[in-house]
């Protein structure tokens, strides 16, 4: 059905591709823009910024989010910062270097052209955000401050205390509010997308459920933009917000959009370790802490002494030992795996033995507690709230946790999926981070897509679509409405014996165990055997109280978990098929003698894009491969030593 994947990467030298592409893309004239209605699903950094920008340009925008306010999208929780190639520190940074670090950080599994464009527009983002009033950290002279982040040897990260995501999102939210006030954007909070509607193969509408009234409705548009974030909550425990879900992108996948690289998930090295059975989420401690904190475990397995009782000589600062040139700032995938290794050796700390120390004693001795408080005070406060421990006096305990997903719906250079009209931006697409995302790059990508890429590429699609927006009384809408309605009724009628959360937890544990920080073929096959059973049990035995025409949080969750139960299988299929290690995808069968990820560029330097063929193993998804062409960078074994 789908032929070879055309990434539509412009020809010409890497550094000129984006400029040339913009120069020759089709435009929509100002007087025609108001004839279009664009549906934007999601209001985080990507969705909020693009809805605002499209509104500014004069399009009519309908923006949907499941939260009660667009300001609550999960971008708000990003702590550390946003990268840009401003070179304000005069330390040798450049667009090329940011591009190179990002593509290398992604273990050479992303597209050169996309990543270069990302680095290129990064500087515009900082300008834009400052103009909106984002209160970035500054030096006494009044100029913008920077800090370092993992995987880079320059200082290029802009930040607003430990709340950079919040401040950038509020900037986008305020721009969005301005457009709501101006009447160009209509906002639909507490409204969840439950299906995509195709008319003659083009994405022309969505089906939504109003989460307050339960009303299921159809919306038509000239194009649909998904900015619905990642699928990290498939693992149940992650640093994502409770409501984050895969439903919008997964339902689009079921309507024919290709899902790319679903096995690429990022396990963040510095999170507060799990305690107890009831835990509902994991909390991140920003990677920026690794600028001043030193990671260590006892040299001796089973050492239960308090950290201050363990002398220097009996500590293993394993990141500094293994990666002397990057030290504690080694990239996320590598740091996470190293933490797992030392814990597997029985050298982990804390009650569960799944934890390592992040120690600020040296930094406090060098800089004073005040400076550390100024840099990270809010993070130390969060840590104390959750654990009851004071990290100024006792090292933090940290452990890796699911944090971000690099995979997502397949898109071409224009950020359009293989379904015409369906555009996917931010974490929801797959395109910029390869197999591992570097710190402070997610905010950059979300805002790049939203402010400076999609507004230029969307007209290329719209220009041929004037007057083609369908009415919502077409049979395609009717059918989608009926399907959503039937599914809702089915969930409510099972009336079984298990709660939605119990299924979610079981799926999460299974995936964390078999498709988490390390994977192998046998484990993935076990997961693939178990998931369909679990899914079957869900549809036979789940209990969803209440009814559909009301505010019903159990029903919301049930729908999301039902999609995770299908999506988890796709993730494992992808992980099993990608028979190499790269970035966050660590197949135990493929490692170098010293335990690093061993890529197989000959066979796997490509994107895996999966086409839906029907539920579960009865009809395995069909694999399409997009070869990654590297014209500028040389593929090397990633080394941070």
């Amino acid at each position: 059905m789908i032929g070879s994947l055309d990434s539509k990467i412009p020809s010409g030298p890497l550094a000129e591709k984006w400029t040339n592409h913009k120069d020759h893309s089709r435009l929509v004239a100002p007087n025609n823009r108001r004839k279009f209605e664009i549906i934007v699903v999601g209001s985080g950094l990507a969705g909020g910024s693009t809805a605002a920008t499209l509104g500014e340009l004069g399009y009519n925008v309908k923006c949907f989010c499941y939260q009660d306010s667009p300001r609550r999208a999960h971008s708000i929780a990003a702590q550390g910062g946003i990268n840009a190639a401003k070179n304000y520190q005069n330390d040798g940074d450049s667009v090329f270097r940011l591009f190179y670090d990002t593509i290398k950080g992604g273990d050479f599994r992303s597209r050169e052209a996309n990543v270069y464009r990302l680095a290129e527009v990064s500087n515009l983002i900082i300008d834009q955000c400052v103009e909106q009033g984002v209160p970035f950290a500054r030096e006494y002279g009044g100029l913008l401050a920077n800090r370092s982040f993992g995987g880079a040897q320059v200082s290029r990260t802009f930040y607003a205390r430990g709340q950079t995501g919040q401040q950038l999102l509020l900037g986008a939210y305020q721009a969005l509010c301005r457009q709501i006030d101006a009447g160009t954007v209509e906002m639909f909070p507490q409204t969840e997308m439950l299906d995509l509607v195709l008319i003659d193969g083009h994405a022309k509408g969505i089906i939504t459920r109003n989460l307050v009234t339960g009303k299921i409705e159809a919306h038509s548009g000239d194009a649909v933009v998904l900015a619905t974030g990642g699928y990290g909550n498939v693992f149940y425990l992650s640093t994502n917000a409770r409501g984050c879900n895969v439903t919008a992108t997964y339902r689009a996948y079921k309507k024919g959009a290709l899902f790319a690289n679903p096995c690429y998930t990022q396990i963040h090295p510095t999170c507060i370790p799990v305690t107890g059975q009831n835990q509902s989420k994991l909390t991140l401690m920003s990677e920026s802490l690794r600028n001043d904190g030193r990671v260590w475990v006892p040299k001796k397995p089973g050492d239960t002494r308090a950290p201050n009782q363990i002398p220097e000589a009996e500590r293993d600062y394993y990141l500094e030992r293994k990666y002397p040139s990057f030290g504690n700032l080694a990239p996320r995938d590598i740091s996470s795996r190293s933490a797992k290794e030392v814990c597997d050796e029985g050298r982990g700390v804390g009650e569960s033995g799944r934890g390592v120390y992040l120690d600020f004693a040296d930094a406090i001795a060098r800089l004073g507690a005040n400076t550390i408080c100024e840099r990270y005070g809010n993070l130390f406060d969060i840590y104390e709230k959750i654990t009851g421990e004071n990290a100024y006096e006792r090292p933090m305990r940290i452990y890796p946790a699911v944090h971000y997903t690099m995979g997502g719906l397949w898109v071409d250079y224009n950020l359009m999926s293989n379904v015409p009209g369906l555009h996917v931006i931010g974490e929801a697409n797959f395109s910029d981070h390869g197999a591992n995302r570097l710190g402070a790059s997610a905010l950059m990508q979300g805002l790049a897509d939203g402010y400076f890429v999609l507004p230029y590429t969307l007209p290329g699609y719209l220009a041929g679509q004037i007057g083609k927006r369908p009415a919502t009384d077409r049979p395609e809408f009717r059918q989608a409405l009926d399907e959503v309605d039937a599914r809702t009724k089915k969930l409510l009628s099972i009336n079984g014996k298990r709660s939605v959360d119990s299924f979610h937890r079981e799926l999460g544990l299974l995936l964390w165990d078999k498709c988490g920080m390390a994977r192998n073929a046998a484990g993935l096959r076990e997961a693939l055997a178990r998931i369909p059973q679990l899914r079957e049990e869900f549809w036979r035995d789940v209990r969803v109280p209440g009814d559909g025409e009301e505010f019903n949080q159990s029903l919301e969750r049930a729908g999301r978990v039902a999609d995770f139960l299908e999506f988890g299988e796709l993730m494992c299929i992808d992980a099993l098929t990608r028979d190499e290690s790269c970035g966050g995808h660590f197949r135990e069968e493929h490692q170098t003698p010293d335990g690093e990820a061993l890529r197989d560029d000959e066979n796997f330097a490509d994107v895996f894009a999966w086409e839906y063929q029907g539920n579960g193993s009865a009809a395995a998804p069909k694999l399409h491969r997009e070869p990654l062409v590297f014209e500028t960078v040389q593929l090397t074994q990633r080394s941070y030593k």
Binding site: V130, Q132, P135, Q174, A241, P545
Partner: protein, 251 residues
């Protein structure tokens, strides 16, 4: 640990609500308050009862979704912090805990502990922004901003928009919320061109939503999870007074 919970249950805005008593047992002190409610809900669902509806999302104190009044205090006893950052070790074993929604007239109840706080969005929509069209911004370092101004702006901008200030205020005033946004933008050079118009429109919207006035009870500051200072309300009043005079003078 073991607790007796008295939870506000109300099926919908039209039905009369009441406090219903539940037991929470086998609770670890390291469980968060919301996770304790999750466990109560799990038991309710399996026993064939409707779970307690309550709002939460990020569960790390930044999204502003959670909105519980616990033992009469917005976000509970562990200030500063949102309800999702409250841990059971803060309570005495065997304690009785009363859980109610945020109560303020402009926050109509949706169900149980969930209220509608869109009035706060409408205040921001009235003018809480800088008109900076994407693509039009000058080079970021072309306008140096003294560190202390940037820091003050950041302190005001830290508001998470939860609405605890209005819920805690005997007058259901949203002045702390409004003051935080007005001040954040007034502290920065980028916020100057719309400074007059912004404060006038935001205050008008705030009044229009039915939020009350400030009578200096400082309840807002006491419960604010983002440590927004009530001194910003004085700044808001000043900004508003100056803007009104300017408007009258046709400036």
């Amino acid at each position: 640990m073991k607790f007796k919970l008295k939870v506000w249950r109300q099926k919908d805005p039209k039905t009369k609500g009441k406090l219903v008593t539940y037991e929470a047992s086998d609770v670890s002190p390291n469980t968060s308050f919301l996770e304790m409610l999750d466990a109560v809900n799990e038991r309710l669902v399996l026993g064939g009862e409707e779970p307690i509806a309550f709002d939460s999302d990020c569960r790390e104190g930044i999204c502003g979704t959670c909105s519980l009044t616990i033992n009469g205090e917005a976000h509970g006893p562990d200030h500063p912090g949102a309800a999702c950052e409250l841990y059971m070790r803060r309570f005495k074993d065997g304690a009785t805990i009363v859980v109610e929604p945020f109560r303020a007239k402009p926050f109509p109840l949706i169900k149980d502990l969930v209220v509608d706080r869109r009035a706060l969005d409408r205040i921001v929509q009235a003018g809480g922004f800088v008109a900076a069209r994407a693509g039009s911004a000058p080079e970021a370092n072309s306008t140096p901003i003294p560190k202390q101004n940037a820091d003050r702006a950041m302190e005001a901008a830290a508001c998470i928009g939860c609405g605890a200030c209005a819920a805690a205020c005997p007058n259901a005033s949203a002045m702390l919320f409004t003051a935080a946004k007005v001040s954040h933008l007034a502290f920065l050079p980028q916020g100057q061109p719309e400074r007059t118009r912004r404060v006038l429109k935001m205050v008008t919207a705030m009044d229009g939503e039915g939020f009350g006035n400030c009578t200096n009870t400082y309840e807002c500051e006491a419960v604010c999870p983002a440590k927004i200072s009530a001194s910003l309300i004085a700044k808001l009043n000043r900004e508003y007074a100056v803007a009104s005079l300017r408007q009258e003078a046709g400036d």
